[in-house]
């Protein structure tokens, strides 16, 4: 019952957010220049252009156009890419697996590195290793992701020749999905982009986990757990870590969205055939339907990840479980 109420409320919120995103995305259309310039050549007369505009509905009032767009969007039609002459949704979804796998790999790196590193820096703040990690994290947080990407290509691909410098390598087709996880070449191509993408978030998470952990270690309940004679390991991982992760999950959910935004830079530098790279190309070609479709799909990913994060948070924090019923 409480889960159902929670779900209904969340879905309602998600619909509202998507409506706003679609409105903003759609209103971009009028600000990117005349779509006809991209569609037809110079030689087409003004009368013919006007007729075409009429036929495409470009002369209708804004909200009529928007309503028509929404109606189509609900049925899975986000318009047709001017450049590819294919449905925009199809073009983007074709690129989705590449971006998804890149973000997933970066997220895994972030989680697997930042949790142990953050805990270590919190419980041994004076250790030389902890000081080193904290120092490096300042450096990491200050270097823009495209610089990290370019530098890692220079060092590992050009100078050392250890890693491929661009592309996704061999991929395996699994129905509509294609994955680079299943081939050695695919995995090799994934390493540099994933590290470059994670480099921007990793220092942030290490510092966040360290700060939260230090705070939690000072609380009365940790003292009480120690006074009960529990093993230090249990105090750390059961009593302290779960409370540390509550705020980390909240911030993490938002940051996964930001990570998708950073894929635009990473994918461009590494020529990674994903949505971000496609988006930058679409901007260069003023491929309006593709740009709008990208904005809407990324918005949808944001909404879905945030909902999942909320559900995880509800599971970890018993206090939200109750207020979820009352609220």
């Amino acid at each position: 019952m409480e889960t159902l109420a929670f779900l209904i409320r969340r879905v309602g919120q998600a619909v509202m957010v998507m409506l706003i995103i679609s409105l903003i995305g759609f209103s971009i259309q009028d600000n990117l220049g005349d779509p006809l310039r991209e569609l037809v050549g110079q030689s087409v007369s003004e009368a013919e252009r006007e007729a075409l505009r009429d036929r495409m509905g470009l002369n209708d009032p804004f909200f009529v156009q928007y309503a028509r767009f929404l109606g189509n969007a609900v049925q899975g039609d986000l318009g047709t890419s001017y450049f590819f002459k294919k449905p925009a949704l199809e073009v983007i979804l074709r690129k989705f697996p590449a971006t998804f796998e890149l973000v997933l790999a970066a997220t895994l790196i972030i989680v697997l590195v930042s949790v142990p590193a953050g805990i270590f820096c919190a419980i041994k703040p004076k250790h030389i290793g902890a000081r080193l990690i904290m120092g490096l994290s300042i450096v990491g947080i200050s270097i823009p992701v495209f610089l990290t990407a370019i530098f890692s290509i220079y060092l590992f691909s050009i100078e050392l020749g250890w890693m491929p410098s661009f592309g996704r390598g061999d991929v395996v087709e699994l129905g509509w999905w294609n994955t680079g996880f299943l081939t050695g070449d695919g995995l090799e191509h994934l390493v540099l982009p994933a590290f470059a993408l994670s480099s921007i978030m990793l220092p942030l998470f290490i510092r966040l986990i360290r700060g939260e952990m230090m705070e939690v270690m000072r609380t009365e309940y940790v003292r009480f757990a120690q006074a009960k004679g529990l093993h230090p390991r249990r105090v750390l991982f059961v009593h302290a870590l779960r409370n540390t992760l509550l705020p980390v999950i909240t911030v993490g959910g938002v940051q996964i969205g930001t990570l998708i935004a950073y894929t635009i830079l990473t994918e461009t530098v590494f020529q990674w055939p994903g949505m971000g790279f496609l988006f930058l190309e679409a901007v260069n070609r003023v491929d309006t339907p593709l740009i709008i479709a990208y904005i809407i799909i990324v918005g949808l990913i944001f909404v879905i990840t945030n909902t999942i994060v909320d559900l995880i948070y509800t599971y970890v924090n018993p206090m939200v479980r109750i207020s979820g019923v009352k609220g």
């Binding site: 009480f224 004679g229 230090p232 009593h239």
Partner: protein, 321 residues
């Protein structure tokens, strides 16, 4: 030999090169089944003494001198793993604020069972049964249901009952209660205190009661310690000290209590406040606030000396008679 013997205990904090002494030579004995009160304002070092006994002083603090002997073993030199086995099992602690003491993300039951399973070899079913029984002993209504509750689902009074149940879980020899009722509603303070005292009494558990409330100590303990700025200023039988305090500070604390026979009368405050560790005045730390102070007081730290049946650290203790 007493059950717990604390001798010349000193705790020191290294802060920015300076070494600040939070405890400066505290000694006391606690016999089996006895109740000892430790009284003083905030910052006197009462809680520090409690944490020191359990060896839970955290960085940058440390026990710098003295010894703590419990049941024939010296605790402060015990290896960490041996000390851990003493905590919660032989010496348990009750903290001040039950809202903060219980972990918000674990159920009441989980926080009880983990304690049992750490110290005993016991099955899940037995651990649950024993925990529920302890919850019943601290008079928690429907203990079976409460076992699965989260702390935030319980009132402050119920939470402190849970904390008491956890402290009693392994039948410890000593319970250290650090301001166990201060954070509670006035209406239930007496109830919780009564419950705790009863349970300790019937089980023969020794109690160290740490409080700023000298009235509570006078009603519940056999012996007491009055602390000021990390030192014991007066120590002895509770009844004697309450009847005729020998230290001006003890006297000040007693006079600050509202008098039952003089309702509406203005309270006698002790002027000023406790100095911080970094700014201890020379000589007797209490002298700037003391009505009896003269040049001898700022000149030298008064030793803790025997006066009749008690110990007192004041140059002018005789004048208070």
């Amino acid at each position: 030999m007493a059950l717990l013997e604390v001798r010349d205990l000193e705790v020191e904090f290294a802060m920015r090169g300076a070494r600040l002494k939070a405890l400066r030579g505290v000694s006391f004995d606690l016999d089996a089944g006895d109740r000892l009160g430790i009284v003083g304002e905030s910052g006197a070092g009462k809680s520090m003494a409690a944490y020191a006994i359990l060896n839970l002083i955290s960085e940058p603090g440390r026990i710098s001198a003295g010894s703590i002997a419990f049941d024939g073993r010296v605790l402060n030199t015990l290896p960490a793993e041996e000390m851990r086995k003493v905590r919660g099992d032989r010496i348990a602690m009750i903290f001040q604020d039950p809202m903060m003491t219980l972990n918000p993300v674990l159920t009441v039951g989980a926080q009880m069972v983990e304690c049992l399973k750490t110290h005993r070899t016991i099955s899940d079913g037995e651990a649950r049964a024993l925990s529920v029984q302890k919850l019943r002993e601290v008079a928690i209504p429907s203990p079976d249901a409460r076992f699965d509750s989260y702390p935030h689902e319980l009132s402050g009074g119920l939470r402190q009952r849970v904390v008491i149940a956890i402290a009693l879980l392994l039948d410890p020899a000593v319970i250290i209660a650090d301001e166990p009722t201060t954070a509670l509603d006035v209406t239930i303070q007496a109830e919780i205190m009564g419950l705790m005292l009863d349970l300790c009494e019937t089980r023969g558990v020794s109690l160290i009661l740490i409080t700023h409330d000298i009235a509570v100590v006078s009603e519940t303990t056999q012996r007491m310690l009055v602390m000021y700025a990390g030192r014991v200023v007066e120590q002895g039988e509770t009844r004697g000290i309450i009847a005729r305090p020998s230290h001006p500070y003890t006297r000040g604390l007693l006079q600050a209590l509202p008098q039952r026979n003089k309702p509406g009368a203005e309270l006698n405050q002790i002027p000023g406040s406790m100095p911080t560790l970094a700014e201890l005045p020379p000589g007797c730390a209490f002298h700037p606030r003391c009505a009896y102070a003269d040049d001898t007081c700022s000149g030298g730290v008064p030793a803790l000396r025997t006066l009749g049946k008690r110990l007192v650290a004041c140059h002018h203790a005789e004048r208070l008679k």
